[in-house]
């Protein structure tokens, strides 16, 4: 691969998915794209790059973009966000949405499903308090492959042992040979959809809670700010944004403010503005694209 080809690829990836490829990460290109080239019957990365420049090669181009994403995820990753979910966000929302009894949650980089399913397990654990509630979890990702895996909900023995308490494995999964599948009642709590965060996502409607973890780290500051500001518009003032352990809004934008003593948790504005409160229900009504049948209804 020539320096020119490298520069072109770098610009292409940035434009397609936001991925900023630093020079130290150059090695990733070979390990991730050589298999793609080989599968397409191409002899080299140069040939692959030439091919995706041709018109009518959008499938191959998408495969290249997806192959460059990092999809690692674990159940209950970093633990505290899920403790915050159960101990802070959920109790607050149970109170604030007591009238609508409706909650919308978005995992904006859902990858292979561990994050949305961890939330589904938290909700199921709190089932008693959610009688009569309709809770929606939407999981989106750029990559088709990871979404397929997320939908199937089948995990290896290794994957179910990284962060998943054994009691949750027994309670929520079924063993299939050497793999474990999350039960269908849990799968039905989550809806998956392909979505590129660089694109307009306002049609998804309003969300009370957004998990956007370990994806902004791959983008430059301008892209991060732009995405965060669009997300802020989709949240009521008492909604919660959850970022990854290595991510923050501090120094980037003030549309979100970090919550004191709750690491990784952010709220729009001051978190109380009453005028915006009711927006949740209204917006759900307009969020027609999300299949209503995928709402998890508790106690009905």
């Amino acid at each position: 691969m020539t320096p020119q080809e490298f520069d072109w690829l770098r610009a292409f990836l940035k434009q397609q998915s936001g991925l900023v490829l630093t020079n130290e990460k150059q090695y990733l290109i070979e390990s991730r794209l050589l298999p793609v080239a080989r599968k397409a019957g191409l002899a080299s990365l140069s040939a692959l790059i030439a091919k995706i420049k041709e018109p009518g090669q959008s499938m191959l181009a998408a495969t290249v973009v997806e192959a460059m994403t990092t999809n690692e995820s674990f159940f209950f990753r970093d633990k505290t966000p899920f403790e915050h979910f159960t101990d802070t966000m959920l109790p607050k929302m149970l109170e604030a949405r007591a009238r609508e009894r409706r909650l919308r949650i978005w995992c904006a980089a859902a990858s292979t499903g561990q994050e949305p399913y961890s939330l589904a397990m938290c909700l199921k654990d709190a089932e008693a308090k959610l009688a009569g509630w309709r809770v929606e979890i939407l999981g989106t990702d750029l990559s088709t492959d990871v979404l397929e895996k997320a939908k199937a909900g089948v995990y290896t023995q290794f994957e179910v042992q990284r962060g998943l308490p054994i009691n949750h494995l027994l309670k929520y999964f079924t063993q299939i040979g050497d793999t474990w599948q999350i039960n269908s009642n849990m799968r039905s709590m989550v809806q998956y959809r392909k979505l590129n965060l660089l694109e307009n996502f306002s049609s998804l409607g309003q969300f009370d809670i957004i998990f956007c973890r370990n994806v902004l780290i791959y983008f430059d500051n301008k892209t991060k700010v732009e995405i965060l500001e669009r997300m802020a518009k989709m949240m009521p003032a008492d909604g919660y944004l959850v970022l990854g352990a290595a991510e923050t809004v501090v120094g980037l934008t003030d549309v979100f403010r970090p919550m004191t003593e709750k690491r990784g948790l952010y709220q729009v504005g001051d978190g109380t503005a009453p005028g915006l409160r009711s927006s949740s229900l209204g917006a759900v009504g307009t969020a027609a694209p999300i299949g209503a049948s995928r709402f998890a209804s508790f106690g009905r």
């Binding site: 674990f74 023995q157 290794f158 042992q161 990284r162 962060g163 308490p165 054994i166 027994l170």
Partner: protein, 121 residues
Amino acid sequence: MKNCLVVDDSSVIRKVARRILEDLAFEIVEAEDGAQALDACRKEMPNAILLDWNMPVMDGLEFLAHLRREPGGEKPKVVFCTTENDVGHIAKAMRAGADEYIMKPFDREIVEAKFAEVGLI
């Protein structure tokens, strides 16, 4: 310093487990079967026990039943670590008083995750 009793009839597994757990700042005592493990516990109750299932003399499940009846035997966090990977075995171990369960093969990340899960690290 916390101590962990590693119970496995394979010296290779004990060695691997020792290396991982020493990095997590545990002091290690080893036992080759349930009977040896019970002796070790009677001398000094450990904070944690990493426990194989199938062993000669006394197996892991039998050891666990004895342990939980010993004075102070409710204290150690017991993490099974076995090739038995079916729901039946896991459920049986949990009912017998295990705190967590590792299905072999395991690696550093799994041991760390499971020990963190039961509050040992």
